[in-house]
Amino acid sequence: MLDKHPNPAFYPLLAALIFMAVGPIVLMLANSFKLDVDIISGTSGLIFLPTIQNYETALCDILWYKPDHLDFCQLKFGGSFINSIIIALISTVLTLVLGAMAAYALVRFRFLGRDTASLTTLLVRMVPPAVLLVPVFGLWNNDFCIGKNTSFGEFLRNIFGGRGDVCLEGTHSGIILIYVAMNLPFVIWILQSFILQVPRSLEEAAKVDGAGTFQVFFKIVLPLIQPGIAAAAIFTFRIAWNEYLLASALADRDTKTVPILLVNNVSEFNIEWGVIMATGMLLAIPPIIFTLFASRQIITGMTAGAVKG
């Protein structure tokens, strides 16, 4: 029987949990509407004169008017935001496509070294990204380059300008590549368990119905592991969106992502708390939208895709 009167300690515990979860966000939201003076003085708490000045500073490069308090638009939030979107979305899509196909192959096909491959994917994930940073930086800068004297390198230089060899460092592709490599093991691992649950007879039925391997994968397996894909998408998008360390090393002025922009507000003279809070709020919006959208897929997938009857 369900107990209708929970333990009295239940409500304080619930309140504490809600405070821990929501508190920082409320604080960030409140502070993003304050001037730095108000934030640092710490006297006002929730009573203050709200201002959108911080948001104006953060968004100065995409506003249609020039905010009064700014002489010079230093923050390029719009550009970084677009970089973040490009990098997070493309790396998520690439990771899911490659990950789903790799997971399917690892589960269903018998080939030499299958078990080793399956195990290694997980081991690779155990390497901390910081360890990768230095070698990847070196490779992206020196090895993965197209010489400026080759015809293709010359062609690229003519289009994008610049001097020296065309390297992966500082490009969107460079960051996307490392994010895909970083997230792929996790996606393969999570999707393997979903693919295992698809009954083999469904695939056999599709084969007898005249489907080739790719048709079986795209028309039968992929729709049935939709909840898994959605869960993996949330994780990969979130990691790619929030990642700071690798992006800070591999991005240049034109390709930097929002987390890096955010940290750039901390200088040796000043910490612009208000702007950091405003940028933080803006940074949080896309993952929320993405998660809401993807989690709906999880729920519809769970109800509609009931594999066993």
Partner: protein, 361 residues
Amino acid sequence: MPEIRLVNLTKRYGAIEVLHGINLEIKPEEFTVLVGPSGCGKSTTLRMIAGLESVSGGEIFIDGRPVSRLEPKGRDLAMVFQDYALYPHMDVARNISFALRLQKRPKDEIARKVREVADLVGLTDYLSRKPGELSGGQRQRVAMARALAKDSSIFLFDEPLSNLDAKLRGQMRAELALMSQRVRKNMIYVTHDQIEAMTLADQIVVMHNGHIQQQGTPEELFKKPATKFVAGFIGSPPMNFLNGELVDENGEKFIVGEGFKILLPDDQTKNQLPTNRRVILGIRPSDLHFDPHAPENASLNLKVRVSEYIGAQSVLLCDCMSSSVTVELKSETPVALGGTLRFGLRTEALHLFDQVTEQTI
């Protein structure tokens, strides 16, 4: 309508051989049932014909064309699976039309075909439902409709009725029989249920331990089983087996065993039997009848242990010295439990098997 021929078909999993050279010919428009106990290789054979299992040795010919290296899609066949294997994310109409959509048939043709097939199996009202919203019997129909829609000339069934409850199974069996008369196609049906085999088949193939034991019409298998295994597998309740010895007394042949001595009828073939040979006597439960006045040499004295009442018939489980014997009788026959009674037998319906080879003599 194609002819299917299996030549020396072999299947090995690693070092273990599970099918030992199957030779089988399936004529066009024939309903063939592969029947046998679990693990006899019947499903493996079917899946090899479908192209879902690789062929380790031998060859499969469809219309004289070797197909063992082809993918399933190259073999032009349709299959109904044991667990139905309906695509859970598609509604009934899309399930039925999946194969047609893969073939990129025109839309109106697909719609017409789906309606036609749904009509045939009685699913017209359920076309927009998902498989999860259907009952077991309806799912079974969808699976059947999906196979029918494909217009293949070969139909494979892998124990399609085994997931249904007893009543529904009987009903679907009748519908299947009806359908097989209407759509004359080459059908291969795998089951472990000999009743399904007997009622549906034009030709039954009995398999055991990766070998074909016997193939023939249901009547042939029932009346002239080639081996003790077939005799025991076909027919319900199963045949009784008693060990005995064939002896010759003054030109008359007797089977002598523990507690019985039965005179074999004058029959040309049986007269040529070698004497003093260890044999197994096979008697169908329905060939025994309660008769206290039956002659000694055409009867068995049985001690009735249990009587199972199943309506018009009763099945008696009896002891004949150390072996057990089942008897099928009309229920109104007065039989006392625990007593030893005499049962007459139809000596012309006896089966004799060699004790060593278990082949019919």
